[in-house]
């Protein structure tokens, strides 16, 4: 029964897709995902702070029961420092139909050169799909525990939106949010960016980034790193990032192919 066996086996071999068929299938699924082509991200960024936070968010969504025999939905548990998803984030997530995280575009070396008590951050919001409205947005920066200072010493962290950068004078800033932190505190500091993000979305040319300023209880400027704030040159899994929650403001139909 050699020939019969062969026939039986061949009918159970998963049909080999020709490369053109495979590309067509991938394009069809990408069109469901709303993507023009498959993204080519830089490798090894999965352990960075933003992907870890987004994975936390993803794992809070798991609402549908796992069907018998499939382990398709395993909450991919984040490893070491993973930014906590606050209850507020979960509420933002319920109302949103898309969440995007954005990495800081200002280069890491800037830390070493820049003025001591000020840091600059920039985010590229240009890839946000048309027809989305920001329902909430946050700027997140990690605060490490610092040993050297006495426990109760407090610092004031202020986040400003850059309004103008005139070539020959001081930048014009708008205070967005402030947070008093103790030297002994550790974890993610969250600053609200909702209004600023919507402004940047509508007027991209006004997206001149953020400035972060650190002062001690006497109003004296401080180097953020000496107060435990992790900026550009710190570990990847504690890098500052921005996250925005979106809601589509129109029903989008799939383009006919």
């Amino acid at each position: 029964n050699f020939s019969v066996d062969n026939e039986v086996r061949s009918s159970f071999i998963q049909r080999r897709l020709r490369s053109q068929e495979r590309r067509e299938m991938q394009r069809e699924i990408l069109s469901i995902l709303g993507l023009p082509h498959r993204p080519r991200p830089h490798v090894h960024t999965k352990q960075n702070a933003a992907p870890m936070f987004m994975l936390d968010l993803y794992n809070t969504i798991s609402t549908y029961p796992e069907p018998p025999g499939y382990s398709y939905y395993k909450p991919v548990l984040p490893t070491q420092v993973s930014p906590m998803v606050t209850p507020q984030d979960s509420r933002f997530l319920d109302d949103a139909d898309m969440v995007m995280s954005f990495v800081n575009l200002v280069d890491q070396e800037q830390d070493l050169l820049y003025q001591q008590h000020r840091r600059e951050f920039r985010f590229d919001l240009s890839r946000i799909p048309e027809g989305e409205t920001v329902t909430a947005a946050e700027f997140r920066i990690y605060k490490d525990f610092i040993q050297e200072r006495c426990e109760n010493e407090t610092f004031r962290v202020s986040v400003y939106q850059v309004l103008q950068e005139p070539p020959n004078s001081e930048v014009e800033l708008l205070l967005l949010d402030q947070r008093d932190v103790r030297a002994a505190e550790e974890g993610w500091l969250v600053f609200d960016l909702t209004d600023t993000s919507n402004l940047w979305l509508v007027n991209p040319e006004q997206n001149l980034g953020l400035h972060l300023v650190l002062e001690d209880s006497n109003g004296q400027g401080w180097n953020p790193q000496l107060a435990g704030l992790v900026t550009g040159s710190g570990p990847q899994d504690k890098q500052p990032f921005m996250v925005a929650f979106f809601k589509a403001n129109e029903v989008r139909f799939r383009s006919i192919r």
Binding site: L33, Y58, V99, R127
Partner: protein, 139 residues
């Protein structure tokens, strides 16, 4: 009663195909080969098989399911038949020539969320509606 016009303009070859299908149907019915009633079947979509695990962070894939099975008289309670499907089933049962059996299709669909990188390594978490069959029924 269905519109008679349908019968007249049906071309001869169409007839023979229809007859052949009916003959097979009658044969299977007579042989007592019980066709399964309309219900949900397993179907897994694997992003891994598509080779996309470098940019899709989660999930590795998802159970989409699909609906298949007969919507024939008598429609059982698990077939979630609409009132219209029940009437259509009766008309088909009385006179198969006039209307086909109702269709077995999803009556409830659920969404999934996908977490993926875009080209500049920003991360996107997006919810997609109507991706998983929750229940099937006769329409």
């Amino acid at each position: 009663s269905a519109h008679k016009g349908r019968q007249s303009n049906r071309s001869k070859p169409q007839r023979t195909v229809q007859d052949a299908l009916k003959a097979v149907e009658a044969a299977t019915d007579n042989l007592g080969i019980s066709r399964e009633g309309c219900k949900k079947h397993e179907l897994y979509v694997s992003f891994r098989d598509l080779g996309w695990q470098d940019w899709i962070i989660a999930p590795e894939g998802y159970a989409a399911y699909y609906c298949e099975g007969e919507c024939a008289f008598p429609l059982n309670s698990y077939m979630n038949a609409t009132n219209h499907a029940i009437v259509q089933t009766l008309v088909h049962f009385i006179n198969p020539d006039t209307v086909p059996k109702p269709c077995c299709a999803p009556t409830q669909l659920h969404g999934i969320s996908v977490l993926y990188f875009d080209d500049s390594s920003n991360v996107i978490l997006k919810k997609y509606r109507n991706m998983v069959v929750r229940a099937c029924g006769c329409h």
